[in-house]
């Protein structure tokens, strides 16, 4: 097998080839860099840190295991002891952690090899990967458009063929929305199922490590290897994680909620068309549509941008120029050191959110904003609980639009925040959700839907994603464990 072909394989097929000795782990890891990256990376700019020696060292220790030799891109906010971890921020320029995040350790133990660190919006605050100190990542399907964010680098790398799998983080949609914009699957697990140890904190009650992949089966495999309690994460969910081994089991008899009031206005016709297509595919595969009205997304946006910024203002207090990261020179006193280091090191969107969160938590406004948002969070969680008493899964848009143009929302923070209107709810409620591609829009841009499930509903979500992968064709579901995947072509 030549390197040129290896990068097209699923993670499962690639690991099997390595284990069988048909190719070496180093060949498996290098294939994506020699083929697609040589063609795409310079323009797409999905990767913030790559290191040939670290890749070779990783491949040298990884010929066994369920992920033997499988290259994986890891978002730049997950700690890795052999690559810098900078969260796309000047404030952490050059920082190299002395330890691996738990999810990174687990993927290495399974034979996976880190292919590079994925570009991202600074501290995962953004929906377009334009807020990175390394410059933007572009959508491989249209270089004038954004890949979504904040895990735009990992999503674009999976889309153009560098790797079959990537790890991102999802605080308000940062795995699902770039997954949708880049035409790959993006899974945000149930809160606490994937350890947050070694994930640089943005909003701790909402942050969750997520998985991007080209195939439902690959995503299921990586989830099964990474999920489970971690004593190093106090919010890790106790007990065994849900079994996702039945990802190819079909959706016969499943009921999916159809809250059409959410897309009656403000949603692109192409996105609505994608929802209709997905619903029809699920119905062909034996699932049943259950229409009902759901709480409009504006409440989730309002709740999220108060809670997430409040938590961020607290979490990012640690970047003060003392223990690590950027330090302003010649500060006369400690107060000046903090203020100058932070002002020079943190970017415009991060500063905006820290200010907003500081305001929401400050004396006199705490009850009006922060406490009200915490109560709204309970209300939102109850809405989802009520929905899942009537259906097994919810179908809704992943984003209200197709991938937008670079710069389009850069100067309008609220417009940027509204591109998360459909994804924020799952983080607030703590439930699992994924975005899955459907057929591309008329102009060839990726198009996707979002599926949401109850706590520990990852198995159901992956079964539905698989049904969409084969477009609801049950005969195909029976006979094939692979589907053809369309790679972007140069435009």
């Amino acid at each position: 097998m030549t390197g040129r072909e290896l990068w097209r394989l699923t993670a499962r097929a690639l690991a099997a080839a390595v284990r069988a000795g048909e190719c070496t782990a180093l060949e498996a890891v290098s294939a994506g860099w020699e083929g697609p990256a040589a063609r795409w990376e310079r323009e797409v700019h999905a990767i913030a840190h790559s290191d040939l020696e670290a890749r070779a060292a990783g491949a040298g220790t990884a010929p066994h295991g369920p992920l033997a030799g499988v290259p994986i891109v890891v978002k730049d906010n997950l700690c890795t002891c052999d690559y810098p971890t900078t969260c796309g921020s000047r404030v952490l320029a050059g920082y190299q952690p002395p330890y691996d995040a738990t999810v990174v350790r687990r993927l290495r133990e399974a034979g996976g090899v880190i292919s590079g660190k994925g570009n991202m919006d600074e501290f995962a605050m953004g929906s377009s990967t334009e807020f990175s100190c390394y410059g933007p990542t572009r959508n491989p399907y249209d270089l004038a458009r954004v890949p979504g964010g904040s895990s735009g680098g990992p999503a674009a790398a999976v889309a153009y063929g560098l790797v079959p799998l990537a790890l991102g983080s999802d605080t308000g949609g940062s795995v699902r929305q770039p997954g949708a914009f880049c035409g790959v699957i993006g899974l945000k697990p149930t809160y606490g199922r994937l350890s947050r140890y070694g994930l640089v904190a943005f909003a701790s009650s909402l942050d969750q490590v997520g998985i991007l992949g080209r195939h439902a089966g690959d995503v299921a495999l990586l989830y099964a290897l990474l999920a489970g309690p971690d004593p190093l994460d106090a919010t890790s969910r106790p007990g065994p994680p849900p079994d996702v081994g039945g990802w190819d089991g079909g959706v016969e008899g499943l009921r999916f909620g159809w809250p059409a009031n959410l897309w009656r206005e403000g949603v692109d016709a192409e996105v609505v068309g994608g929802l209709e297509e997905a619903a029809a595919a699920l119905e062909r595969a034996g699932a049943r549509r259950v229409p009902f009205d759901f709480l409009p997304g504006e409440y989730a946006v309002a709740t999220y941008y108060l809670l997430a910024t409040a938590e961020a203002s607290s979490n990012l207090a640690r970047f003060d120029g003392v223990r690590y990261g950027h330090r302003a020179p010649k500060s006369p006193d400690l107060h000046a050191l903090y203020t100058r280091s932070r002002s020079a090191g943190l970017g415009v969107e991060v500063q905006r959110r820290v200010l907003l969160g500081t305001y929401a938590l400050s004396a006199g406004y705490y009850d009006e904003y922060y406490l009200t948002a915490q109560r709204a969070r309970t209300r939102i969680r109850r809405e989802y609980e009520a929905a899942f008493s009537r259906c097994d899964l919810l179908l809704m848009p992943a984003a209200p639009t197709l991938p937008f143009r670079l710069g389009e929302k850069l100067d309008d923070p609220l417009a940027m925040y509204l591109s998360d209107i459909f994804t924020l709810g799952a983080n607030l409620a703590g439930i699992p959700a994924l975005s899955a591609p459907v057929t591309p829009a008329a102009g060839g841009l990726p198009r996707a839907v979002q599926l949401l499930g109850p706590d520990d509903g990852e198995g159901l979500l992956l079964r539905a994603a698989r049904a969409l992968e084969v477009r609801g064709d049950r005969a195909r579901l029976d006979r094939s464990h692979e589907v053809e995947f369309t790679w972007p072509t140069k435009r």
């Binding site: 920082y95 190299q96 002395p98 330890y99 809160y191 606490g192 009650s205 004593p231 190093l232 106090a234 919010t235 969910r237 106790p238 504006e298 409440y299 946006v301 309002a302 709740t303 941008y305 108060l306 207090a317 003060d320 120029g321 003392v322 690590y324 950027h326 330090r327 006369p332 006193d333 400690l334 107060h335 000046a336 050191l337 203020t339 932070r342 943190l346 500063q351 905006r352 200010l355 907003l356 500081t358 305001y359 400050s362 904003y369 009200t372 948002a373 915490q374 109560r375 709204a376 969070r377 309970t378 209300r379 969680r381 109850r382 923070p413 609220l414 925040y417 607030l428 409620a429 439930i431």
Partner: protein
Amino acid sequence: MAIQRDEVRRIAGLARLEIREEDLDRVAAELSSVLEYAEALKRLDLEGCEPLSFAPPATALRADEPDGRRLTARQALGMAPEAEGGFFVVPPVLEGQDP
């Protein structure tokens, strides 16, 4: 609710951030527009809704457990912008005192 320039200065001070004079109006307008949007929550019926910090069951913290990790002083100081003799170096904590 509209935020004024003075309010931006006050918040920035609390957050240990420096906002340039020429940026105060822009920042004030941006924060105001998000807070105005957040007024939507006033229309939501929150009767009987207690504040939620974490989605359950993470609200129930687990018991403390021994932690086998070891970070050496060398590792801890290894990424510091300035360290000396096993300590992090900082400028004077109280203004007007010689270092």
